[in-house]
Protein backbone atom coordinates (compact mmCIF):
# COMPACT_ATOMS: atom_id res chain seq x y z
CA UNK A 1 0.00 0.00 0.00
CA UNK A 2 2.74 2.42 0.98
CA UNK A 3 4.63 1.39 -2.12
CA UNK A 4 1.79 2.26 -4.44
CA UNK A 5 1.28 5.59 -2.68
CA UNK A 6 4.80 6.75 -3.46
CA UNK A 7 4.76 5.16 -6.88
CA UNK A 8 1.67 7.18 -7.83
CA UNK A 9 3.07 10.36 -6.30
CA UNK A 10 6.33 9.85 -8.14
CA UNK A 11 4.62 9.39 -11.50
CA UNK A 12 2.39 12.40 -11.03
CA UNK A 13 5.42 14.50 -10.10
CA UNK A 14 7.40 13.20 -13.04
CA UNK A 15 4.53 13.98 -15.39
CA UNK A 16 4.25 17.52 -14.04
CA UNK A 17 7.99 18.09 -14.40
CA UNK A 18 8.03 16.65 -17.92
CA UNK A 19 5.25 19.00 -18.94
CA UNK A 20 7.07 21.91 -17.31
CA UNK A 21 10.41 21.10 -18.90
CA UNK A 22 8.76 21.10 -22.31
CA UNK A 23 7.04 24.44 -22.04
CA UNK A 24 8.98 26.09 -19.20
CA UNK A 25 6.06 28.46 -19.03
CA UNK A 26 5.31 28.36 -15.33
CA UNK A 27 8.95 28.30 -14.32
CA UNK A 28 9.96 31.31 -16.36
CA UNK A 29 6.94 33.44 -15.59
CA UNK A 30 7.13 32.63 -11.90
CA UNK A 31 10.83 33.40 -11.84
CA UNK A 32 10.47 36.74 -13.53
CA UNK A 33 7.54 37.63 -11.38
CA UNK A 34 9.56 36.87 -8.26
CA UNK A 35 12.40 39.04 -9.51
CA UNK A 36 9.97 41.88 -10.26
CA UNK A 37 8.57 41.64 -6.76
CA UNK A 38 12.05 41.99 -5.31
CA UNK A 39 12.76 44.98 -7.51
CA UNK A 40 9.46 46.70 -6.80
CA UNK A 41 9.98 46.34 -3.07
CA UNK A 42 13.55 47.54 -3.43
CA UNK A 43 12.41 50.70 -5.17
CA UNK A 44 9.77 51.20 -2.55
CA UNK A 45 12.11 50.77 0.39
CA UNK A 46 15.59 51.79 -0.61
CA UNK A 47 16.34 55.38 0.26
CA UNK A 48 19.49 57.30 -0.67
CA UNK A 49 20.94 54.13 -2.02
CA UNK A 50 20.65 52.18 1.22
CA UNK A 51 18.07 49.75 2.37
CA UNK A 52 17.02 49.70 6.00
CA UNK A 53 18.45 46.77 7.92
CA UNK A 54 16.48 43.58 8.07
CA UNK A 55 14.43 44.10 4.93
CA UNK A 56 16.27 41.43 2.98
CA UNK A 57 14.58 38.61 4.85
CA UNK A 58 11.15 40.17 4.49
CA UNK A 59 11.50 40.84 0.79
CA UNK A 60 12.78 37.35 0.13
CA UNK A 61 9.79 35.72 1.76
CA UNK A 62 7.28 38.10 0.25
CA UNK A 63 8.69 37.26 -3.18
CA UNK A 64 8.49 33.53 -2.43
CA UNK A 65 4.91 33.73 -1.24
CA UNK A 66 3.64 35.92 -4.08
CA UNK A 67 5.32 33.94 -6.81
CA UNK A 68 4.45 30.66 -5.13
CA UNK A 69 0.77 31.55 -5.16
CA UNK A 70 0.99 32.30 -8.85
CA UNK A 71 2.74 29.02 -9.59
CA UNK A 72 0.15 27.02 -7.68
CA UNK A 73 -2.67 28.57 -9.60
CA UNK A 74 -0.97 27.87 -12.88
CA UNK A 75 -0.18 24.23 -12.23
CA UNK A 76 -3.79 23.47 -11.46
CA UNK A 77 -4.98 25.56 -14.35
CA UNK A 78 -3.18 23.02 -16.50
CA UNK A 79 -5.21 20.19 -15.04
CA UNK A 80 -8.35 22.13 -15.74
CA UNK A 81 -7.51 22.69 -19.37
CA UNK A 82 -8.38 19.28 -20.70
CA UNK A 83 -10.18 18.24 -17.56
CA UNK A 84 -7.29 15.93 -16.76
CA UNK A 85 -7.92 16.47 -13.06
CA UNK A 86 -11.03 14.39 -13.54
CA UNK A 87 -8.99 11.67 -15.18
CA UNK A 88 -6.59 11.71 -12.23
CA UNK A 89 -9.44 11.41 -9.75
CA UNK A 90 -10.98 8.64 -11.81
CA UNK A 91 -7.89 6.45 -11.56
CA UNK A 92 -7.91 3.86 -8.79
CA UNK A 93 -4.93 5.63 -7.29
CA UNK A 94 -5.02 6.90 -3.72
CA UNK A 95 -6.22 10.52 -3.85
CA UNK A 96 -3.70 11.73 -1.25
CA UNK A 97 -0.99 10.25 -3.46
CA UNK A 98 -2.10 12.49 -6.30
CA UNK A 99 -1.98 15.46 -3.96
CA UNK A 100 1.54 14.49 -2.89
CA UNK A 101 2.67 14.20 -6.48
CA UNK A 102 1.41 17.66 -7.32
CA UNK A 103 2.98 19.05 -4.15
CA UNK A 104 6.36 17.56 -5.01
CA UNK A 105 6.22 18.98 -8.51
CA UNK A 106 5.44 22.40 -7.12
CA UNK A 107 8.29 22.14 -4.61
CA UNK A 108 10.81 21.41 -7.33
CA UNK A 109 9.58 24.45 -9.22
CA UNK A 110 9.77 26.73 -6.20
CA UNK A 111 13.20 25.39 -5.29
CA UNK A 112 14.44 26.45 -8.71
CA UNK A 113 12.94 29.90 -8.21
CA UNK A 114 14.57 30.24 -4.80
CA UNK A 115 17.95 29.21 -6.16
CA UNK A 116 17.82 32.39 -8.22
CA UNK A 117 16.06 34.55 -5.65
CA UNK A 118 18.39 34.02 -2.70
CA UNK A 119 21.59 35.15 -4.46
CA UNK A 120 19.67 38.06 -5.96
CA UNK A 121 18.51 39.24 -2.56
CA UNK A 122 21.97 38.65 -1.14
CA UNK A 123 23.42 40.79 -3.90
CA UNK A 124 20.96 43.64 -3.75
CA UNK A 125 20.88 43.95 0.02
CA UNK A 126 24.32 42.72 1.01
CA UNK A 127 22.72 39.95 3.00
CA UNK A 128 25.11 37.30 4.33
CA UNK A 129 23.50 34.38 2.55
CA UNK A 130 26.63 32.24 2.79
CA UNK A 131 27.14 32.72 6.52
CA UNK A 132 24.86 29.86 7.59
CA UNK A 133 23.91 28.11 4.35
CA UNK A 134 22.63 24.96 6.05
CA UNK A 135 20.23 26.74 8.36
CA UNK A 136 19.11 29.13 5.65
CA UNK A 137 18.40 26.26 3.29
CA UNK A 138 16.50 24.43 6.02
CA UNK A 139 14.37 27.47 6.78
CA UNK A 140 13.59 27.99 3.12
CA UNK A 141 12.83 24.32 2.58
CA UNK A 142 10.52 24.00 5.57
CA UNK A 143 8.79 27.29 4.96
CA UNK A 144 8.24 26.61 1.27
CA UNK A 145 7.00 23.13 2.11
CA UNK A 146 4.41 24.40 4.57
CA UNK A 147 3.27 27.15 2.27
CA UNK A 148 3.08 24.85 -0.76
CA UNK A 149 1.32 22.09 1.15
CA UNK A 150 -1.61 24.29 2.09
CA UNK A 151 -1.53 26.08 -1.24
CA UNK A 152 -1.70 22.87 -3.27
CA UNK A 153 -4.77 21.81 -1.34
CA UNK A 154 -6.48 25.16 -1.68
CA UNK A 155 -5.61 25.47 -5.38
CA UNK A 156 -7.05 22.00 -6.00
CA UNK A 157 -10.18 22.91 -4.03
CA UNK A 158 -10.69 26.05 -6.06
CA UNK A 159 -10.15 24.48 -9.47
CA UNK A 160 -13.85 24.56 -10.31
CA UNK A 161 -14.63 27.87 -8.64
CA UNK A 162 -15.08 30.89 -10.83
CA UNK A 163 -13.17 33.49 -8.82
CA UNK A 164 -10.32 31.10 -8.06
CA UNK A 165 -7.59 33.56 -9.02
CA UNK A 166 -8.54 36.03 -6.32
CA UNK A 167 -9.82 33.53 -3.79
CA UNK A 168 -6.57 31.58 -3.65
CA UNK A 169 -4.48 34.37 -2.12
CA UNK A 170 -7.42 35.46 0.04
CA UNK A 171 -7.63 32.00 1.57
CA UNK A 172 -3.96 31.14 1.56
CA UNK A 173 -2.27 34.16 3.12
CA UNK A 174 -4.10 34.36 6.45
CA UNK A 175 -3.77 30.64 6.97
CA UNK A 176 -0.03 30.54 6.23
CA UNK A 177 0.93 33.59 8.28
CA UNK A 178 2.75 31.49 10.91
CA UNK A 179 4.94 30.14 8.14
CA UNK A 180 5.67 33.64 6.94
CA UNK A 181 6.48 34.87 10.41
CA UNK A 182 8.73 31.92 11.11
CA UNK A 183 10.45 32.23 7.76
CA UNK A 184 11.05 35.95 7.93
CA UNK A 185 12.05 36.06 11.59
CA UNK A 186 14.28 33.04 11.24
CA UNK A 187 15.99 34.40 8.16
CA UNK A 188 16.35 37.80 9.75
CA UNK A 189 17.97 36.18 12.77
CA UNK A 190 20.52 34.64 10.43
CA UNK A 191 21.11 37.83 8.45
CA UNK A 192 21.47 40.28 11.28
CA UNK A 193 24.82 41.78 12.27
CA UNK A 194 25.15 39.49 15.29
CA UNK A 195 23.31 36.36 14.14
CA UNK A 196 20.91 34.87 16.67
CA UNK A 197 21.25 31.15 16.05
CA UNK A 198 19.05 30.17 18.95
CA UNK A 199 16.22 32.23 17.52
CA UNK A 200 16.69 30.70 14.12
CA UNK A 201 16.61 27.29 15.73
CA UNK A 202 13.35 28.12 17.46
CA UNK A 203 11.70 29.13 14.22
CA UNK A 204 12.98 26.03 12.47
CA UNK A 205 11.44 23.95 15.23
CA UNK A 206 8.13 25.74 14.89
CA UNK A 207 8.14 25.16 11.16
CA UNK A 208 8.78 21.44 11.57
CA UNK A 209 5.81 21.24 13.90
CA UNK A 210 3.56 23.35 11.70
CA UNK A 211 4.50 21.42 8.56
CA UNK A 212 3.87 18.06 10.19
CA UNK A 213 0.41 19.05 11.39
CA UNK A 214 -0.73 20.80 8.27
CA UNK A 215 0.56 18.26 5.78
CA UNK A 216 -1.28 15.59 7.75
CA UNK A 217 -4.40 17.73 7.72
CA UNK A 218 -4.06 18.26 3.97
CA UNK A 219 -3.69 14.53 3.32
CA UNK A 220 -6.82 13.86 5.34
CA UNK A 221 -8.95 16.55 3.77
CA UNK A 222 -7.91 16.17 0.13
CA UNK A 223 -10.27 13.32 -0.66
CA UNK A 224 -13.47 14.62 1.01
CA UNK A 225 -12.92 18.09 -0.36
CA UNK A 226 -12.29 16.96 -3.93
CA UNK A 227 -15.33 14.70 -4.30
CA UNK A 228 -18.31 16.65 -5.50
Amino acid sequence: MIGSFFRVAWHVMRKDLTVEVRSKEVLLTTLFFAVSVVLVFSFAIVREGRAPDDVAAGILWVAVSFSGTLAMGRTFERERYNDTLRALLLAPADRPAIYTGKLLGLLVLLALVEVVLVPLVGLLFNAPILAFPGRLATLLALGTLGFAAVGTLFAAMLVRVRSRDTLLPVLLYPVTIPVMIAGVRGTAALFQATPDLAMAQFWIGLLVFWDAIFITLALWTFEPVMTE
Binding site: G3, R7, K15, R22, Y81, D83, T84, E228
Partner: protein
Protein backbone atom coordinates in the same frame (compact mmCIF):
# COMPACT_ATOMS: atom_id res chain seq x y z
CA UNK B 1 -6.41 -7.00 -37.23
CA UNK B 2 -3.40 -8.59 -35.63
CA UNK B 3 -3.46 -6.71 -32.36
CA UNK B 4 -2.78 -8.65 -29.20
CA UNK B 5 -5.78 -9.55 -27.11
CA UNK B 6 -5.76 -8.96 -23.42
CA UNK B 7 -7.00 -11.24 -20.71
CA UNK B 8 -10.48 -10.07 -19.65
CA UNK B 9 -9.34 -9.41 -16.11
CA UNK B 10 -6.12 -7.51 -15.77
CA UNK B 11 -4.72 -7.29 -12.27
CA UNK B 12 -2.99 -4.10 -11.25
CA UNK B 13 0.32 -4.32 -9.50
CA UNK B 14 -1.30 -3.76 -6.13
CA UNK B 15 -4.93 -4.73 -6.36
CA UNK B 16 -6.03 -8.09 -7.70
CA UNK B 17 -9.12 -7.86 -9.84
CA UNK B 18 -11.78 -9.32 -7.64
CA UNK B 19 -14.31 -6.56 -7.98
CA UNK B 20 -15.57 -7.16 -11.50
CA UNK B 21 -19.26 -6.77 -12.10
CA UNK B 22 -21.51 -7.61 -15.00
CA UNK B 23 -24.37 -5.24 -14.45
CA UNK B 24 -24.86 -1.64 -13.45
CA UNK B 25 -28.09 -0.57 -11.81
CA UNK B 26 -29.11 3.04 -11.33
CA UNK B 27 -31.66 3.20 -8.55
CA UNK B 28 -33.80 6.27 -7.92
CA UNK B 29 -30.91 8.58 -8.69
CA UNK B 30 -31.12 12.31 -8.12
CA UNK B 31 -28.58 15.10 -8.09
CA UNK B 32 -29.30 18.66 -6.98
CA UNK B 33 -27.27 21.81 -7.11
CA UNK B 34 -28.96 24.14 -4.66
CA UNK B 35 -32.44 24.42 -6.08
CA UNK B 36 -31.57 23.18 -9.50
CA UNK B 37 -32.41 19.58 -10.24
CA UNK B 38 -29.73 18.28 -12.54
CA UNK B 39 -31.13 14.75 -12.31
CA UNK B 40 -34.27 13.33 -10.75
CA UNK B 41 -35.79 9.88 -10.44
CA UNK B 42 -33.43 8.17 -12.83
CA UNK B 43 -33.77 4.39 -12.92
CA UNK B 44 -32.30 1.90 -15.31
CA UNK B 45 -30.19 -1.21 -15.47
CA UNK B 46 -27.65 -2.37 -17.99
CA UNK B 47 -25.64 -5.52 -18.39
CA UNK B 48 -22.67 -6.95 -20.19
CA UNK B 49 -22.61 -6.58 -23.92
CA UNK B 50 -25.04 -3.68 -24.00
CA UNK B 51 -24.50 -0.29 -25.54
CA UNK B 52 -26.78 2.21 -23.81
CA UNK B 53 -27.36 5.61 -25.34
CA UNK B 54 -28.11 8.69 -23.26
CA UNK B 55 -29.93 11.04 -25.58
CA UNK B 56 -31.30 14.45 -24.89
CA UNK B 57 -30.93 18.17 -25.46
CA UNK B 58 -28.16 20.25 -23.92
CA UNK B 59 -28.55 20.62 -20.20
CA UNK B 60 -30.59 17.44 -19.91
CA UNK B 61 -28.19 15.98 -17.38
CA UNK B 62 -26.33 13.48 -19.58
CA UNK B 63 -22.86 14.61 -18.46
CA UNK B 64 -23.95 14.70 -14.83
CA UNK B 65 -25.26 11.17 -15.11
CA UNK B 66 -22.05 9.96 -16.72
CA UNK B 67 -19.99 11.59 -13.99
CA UNK B 68 -22.10 9.93 -11.32
CA UNK B 69 -21.65 6.59 -13.07
CA UNK B 70 -17.92 7.27 -13.04
CA UNK B 71 -18.15 7.85 -9.24
CA UNK B 72 -16.78 11.35 -9.69
CA UNK B 73 -19.92 13.02 -8.41
CA UNK B 74 -21.90 11.63 -5.52
CA UNK B 75 -25.67 11.51 -5.91
CA UNK B 76 -27.94 13.65 -3.74
CA UNK B 77 -30.28 10.73 -3.52
CA UNK B 78 -30.38 7.15 -4.72
CA UNK B 79 -27.42 5.03 -5.67
CA UNK B 80 -25.59 3.24 -8.42
CA UNK B 81 -24.93 -0.44 -7.96
CA UNK B 82 -21.98 -2.00 -9.71
CA UNK B 83 -22.85 -5.65 -9.43
CA UNK B 84 -23.62 -5.97 -5.77
CA UNK B 85 -21.73 -2.95 -4.49
CA UNK B 86 -22.11 0.81 -4.53
CA UNK B 87 -19.36 3.30 -5.16
CA UNK B 88 -19.07 4.03 -1.46
CA UNK B 89 -18.47 0.38 -0.69
CA UNK B 90 -16.21 -0.39 -3.59
CA UNK B 91 -14.13 2.76 -3.76
CA UNK B 92 -10.91 2.47 -5.71
CA UNK B 93 -11.58 -1.09 -6.79
CA UNK B 94 -14.68 -0.04 -8.68
CA UNK B 95 -12.82 2.88 -10.24
CA UNK B 96 -10.30 0.38 -11.53
CA UNK B 97 -13.05 -1.20 -13.63
CA UNK B 98 -14.38 2.04 -15.09
CA UNK B 99 -13.02 3.91 -18.08
CA UNK B 100 -14.21 7.29 -19.28
CA UNK B 101 -13.78 9.31 -22.41
CA UNK B 102 -14.71 12.83 -21.43
CA UNK B 103 -15.83 15.63 -23.64
CA UNK B 104 -12.50 17.36 -23.04
CA UNK B 105 -10.54 14.21 -23.81
CA UNK B 106 -8.37 14.04 -20.65
CA UNK B 107 -5.04 14.28 -22.47
CA UNK B 108 -2.00 16.41 -21.69
CA UNK B 109 -1.24 18.40 -24.84
CA UNK B 110 2.38 19.00 -23.82
CA UNK B 111 3.09 15.28 -23.75
CA UNK B 112 3.41 12.89 -26.66
CA UNK B 113 0.72 10.31 -27.32
CA UNK B 114 2.98 7.60 -25.96
CA UNK B 115 3.81 9.60 -22.83
CA UNK B 116 0.13 10.18 -22.15
CA UNK B 117 -0.58 6.47 -22.43
CA UNK B 118 2.47 5.53 -20.37
CA UNK B 119 1.53 7.96 -17.61
CA UNK B 120 -1.99 6.65 -17.24
CA UNK B 121 -0.85 3.04 -17.55
CA UNK B 122 1.54 3.65 -14.67
CA UNK B 123 -1.15 5.44 -12.69
CA UNK B 124 -3.40 2.42 -13.09
CA UNK B 125 -0.57 0.16 -11.98
CA UNK B 126 -0.64 -1.94 -15.13
CA UNK B 127 2.17 -4.43 -15.70
CA UNK B 128 4.50 -3.94 -18.66
CA UNK B 129 3.42 -0.40 -19.50
CA UNK B 130 5.61 -0.09 -22.60
CA UNK B 131 3.91 -3.00 -24.33
CA UNK B 132 0.47 -1.79 -23.30
CA UNK B 133 1.14 1.68 -24.66
CA UNK B 134 2.55 0.31 -27.90
CA UNK B 135 -0.46 -1.94 -28.41
CA UNK B 136 -2.84 0.94 -27.76
CA UNK B 137 -1.04 3.15 -30.25
CA UNK B 138 -1.25 0.37 -32.82
CA UNK B 139 -4.96 -0.08 -32.22
CA UNK B 140 -5.48 3.65 -32.63
CA UNK B 141 -3.61 3.47 -35.91
CA UNK B 142 -1.04 5.94 -34.59
CA UNK B 143 2.00 3.72 -34.13
CA UNK B 144 4.20 6.01 -36.24
CA UNK B 145 2.90 9.20 -34.59
CA UNK B 146 3.39 7.89 -31.06
CA UNK B 147 6.22 10.23 -30.25
CA UNK B 148 4.57 13.42 -31.49
CA UNK B 149 3.03 15.90 -29.10
CA UNK B 150 -0.70 15.59 -28.70
CA UNK B 151 -1.07 19.32 -29.21
CA UNK B 152 -0.17 18.76 -32.84
CA UNK B 153 -2.89 16.19 -33.45
CA UNK B 154 -6.18 16.73 -35.22
CA UNK B 155 -9.38 16.26 -33.29
CA UNK B 156 -9.88 12.81 -34.73
CA UNK B 157 -6.39 11.66 -33.82
CA UNK B 158 -6.71 13.05 -30.31
CA UNK B 159 -10.00 11.26 -29.96
CA UNK B 160 -8.41 7.97 -30.88
CA UNK B 161 -5.60 8.41 -28.36
CA UNK B 162 -8.11 9.50 -25.72
CA UNK B 163 -10.25 6.45 -26.38
CA UNK B 164 -7.30 4.11 -26.05
CA UNK B 165 -6.34 5.93 -22.84
CA UNK B 166 -9.79 5.23 -21.48
CA UNK B 167 -9.51 1.57 -22.45
CA UNK B 168 -5.95 0.96 -21.25
CA UNK B 169 -6.95 -1.05 -18.23
CA UNK B 170 -9.67 -2.97 -20.06
CA UNK B 171 -12.52 -1.51 -18.02
CA UNK B 172 -15.82 -3.29 -17.58
CA UNK B 173 -17.85 -0.07 -17.73
CA UNK B 174 -16.97 2.31 -20.54
CA UNK B 175 -18.46 5.82 -20.39
CA UNK B 176 -18.30 8.16 -23.35
CA UNK B 177 -19.39 11.80 -23.35
CA UNK B 178 -20.20 13.07 -26.84
CA UNK B 179 -17.53 10.92 -28.52
CA UNK B 180 -18.65 11.63 -32.08
CA UNK B 181 -18.29 15.40 -31.86
CA UNK B 182 -16.17 16.85 -34.62
CA UNK B 183 -15.22 13.52 -36.19
CA UNK B 184 -15.06 12.88 -39.87
CA UNK B 185 -16.58 9.85 -41.59
CA UNK B 186 -13.53 7.61 -41.30
CA UNK B 187 -12.90 8.40 -37.65
CA UNK B 188 -16.54 7.85 -36.80
CA UNK B 189 -16.47 4.45 -38.48
CA UNK B 190 -13.28 3.50 -36.66
CA UNK B 191 -14.80 4.55 -33.33
CA UNK B 192 -17.98 2.60 -34.00
CA UNK B 193 -16.05 -0.56 -34.82
CA UNK B 194 -13.91 -0.21 -31.70
CA UNK B 195 -17.02 0.19 -29.58
CA UNK B 196 -18.64 -2.82 -31.19
CA UNK B 197 -15.52 -4.82 -30.46
CA UNK B 198 -15.77 -3.84 -26.80
CA UNK B 199 -19.42 -4.77 -26.80
CA UNK B 200 -18.59 -8.22 -28.09
CA UNK B 201 -15.99 -8.57 -25.38
CA UNK B 202 -18.83 -8.31 -22.89
CA UNK B 203 -18.26 -4.75 -21.75
CA UNK B 204 -20.97 -2.32 -20.72
CA UNK B 205 -20.93 0.90 -22.73
CA UNK B 206 -22.86 4.06 -21.93
CA UNK B 207 -22.70 6.79 -24.55
CA UNK B 208 -24.07 10.30 -24.26
CA UNK B 209 -24.52 11.69 -27.72
CA UNK B 210 -26.33 14.11 -29.98
CA UNK B 211 -25.45 12.23 -33.11
CA UNK B 212 -28.62 10.27 -33.74
CA UNK B 213 -27.61 8.92 -37.15
CA UNK B 214 -24.55 7.19 -35.78
CA UNK B 215 -26.34 6.11 -32.65
CA UNK B 216 -29.07 4.55 -34.72
CA UNK B 217 -27.91 1.00 -35.35
CA UNK B 218 -25.14 1.14 -32.75
CA UNK B 219 -27.18 1.30 -29.56
CA UNK B 220 -28.87 -1.72 -28.07
CA UNK B 221 -30.98 0.64 -25.98
CA UNK B 222 -31.71 4.33 -25.78
CA UNK B 223 -32.59 6.41 -22.73
CA UNK B 224 -34.03 9.83 -23.37
CA UNK B 225 -33.28 12.54 -20.84
CA UNK B 226 -34.97 15.90 -20.60
CA UNK B 227 -34.49 18.34 -17.72
CA UNK B 228 -32.84 15.66 -15.67
CA UNK B 229 -35.61 13.12 -16.02
CA UNK B 230 -35.94 9.99 -18.06
CA UNK B 231 -38.72 10.63 -20.56
CA UNK B 232 -38.63 7.40 -22.45
CA UNK B 233 -36.48 4.41 -23.12
CA UNK B 234 -36.68 1.70 -25.63
CA UNK B 235 -35.06 -1.53 -26.56
CA UNK B 236 -35.18 -1.30 -30.29
CA UNK B 237 -32.89 1.21 -31.90
CA UNK B 238 -34.77 1.66 -35.12
CA UNK B 239 -36.12 5.02 -36.05
CA UNK B 240 -34.17 6.76 -33.34
CA UNK B 241 -34.60 10.22 -34.78
CA UNK B 242 -38.33 9.79 -34.83
CA UNK B 243 -38.52 8.50 -31.32
CA UNK B 244 -36.22 11.25 -30.06
CA UNK B 245 -38.50 13.87 -31.49
CA UNK B 246 -41.51 12.24 -29.89
CA UNK B 247 -39.88 11.84 -26.52
CA UNK B 248 -38.23 15.22 -26.25
CA UNK B 249 -40.82 17.50 -27.79
Amino acid sequence: MGCPTFAPERATVDKPMSSDFDSVAVVDLARHYGRRKALAQVNFTCGSGEIIGLLGPNGAGKSTLLNILATLISPSRGRVEYGARTAAQGGAEIRARIGMLGHDLFLYPELTARENLLFFARLYGLPDVEAVAQASLARAGLAERGDDLVSGFSRGMRQRVALERALLHDPRLVLLDEPFTGLDQASTAALVSRLRERQQAGRILVIATHDLDVADGLLSRAIFLKNGRVVGSDEDSRGLTERYRLAIQ
